[in-house]
Symmetry: C2
Subunit: 109 residues, 2 copies
DNA sequence: AAAATACATTAGTAGATACTCATTGATTAG
DNA sequence: CTAATCAATGAGTATCTACTAATGTATTTT
């Protein structure tokens, strides 16, 4: 089955452990290059670039080329579809409040 | 790369659109049987059972056999690893508050 | 200019996985 | 008892995907 929704892209992208680890490292560091991400990753540089491409297409990271380096940084908005999905289908949260998103907006408008 | 953490199981399980749709239907209905889930799903009963097995192993659904029917219901706690992960790596949320989980516990202890 | 570095991309491959079809076990209906 | 229904499971298959290895393209260094 083929779907192309935002939540689909985000979940499929984060489902892979290697790719998720890359995302976590990007989040943890302000900006980080491909070589740095490659070091200690256990996979080749090519694999890292492929994963970054997926993350970029899912809207989870953004790039900033500078010279021969490319600096990657996390794109927080990319997680919004996941947050929305959680608020819709996350019974756990819905049981506690009517709508998590609404609550958050009330707290921090 | 092989990992067996809770967040890994949850994300991998929800990554598949068909399986996620099943989960969403289980969440929406209080309790639902396999035949009901099969109807309008576009896949066979066997496929549904296989997906339910995955969802069960991920802790996202629970079953209640009754006669020859098996009623499935959502298991809200199963989404906790995802919520935890969001609070750790969801920059979007972290930028707004130090820790989402802490906040939620303060509101509803 | 030549060598080196950073990154992207391609082709090819091995393994994962989502599916169908068929079968089985169990329960209920006629 | 027999037939029908519900669900789980196994075998087989086609597709997807994460990876390596190799190559290409810039850019920087020497």
């Amino acid at each position: 089955m083929i779907e192309a929704t935002a939540i689909d892209a985000v979940l499929r992208t984060l489902a892979d452990p290697t790719r998720r680890a890359i995302f976590e490292r990007v989040v943890s560091s302000d900006e980080i290059t491909v070589v740095e991400l490659t070091r200690g990753s256990g996979v080749t540089q090519g694999a890292i670039s492929q994963h970054l491409k997926s993350l970029k297409q899912a809207g989870l990271v953004a790039e900033r080329p500078e010279g021969r380096n490319v600096y990657y940084r996390a794109q927080p908005e990319g997680l919004a579809p996941l947050a929305d999905w959680m608020s819709h289908y996350g019974v756990f949260w819905r049981e506690r409040f009517a709508n998590l998103k609404t609550l958050l907006e009330e707290i921090d408008p």
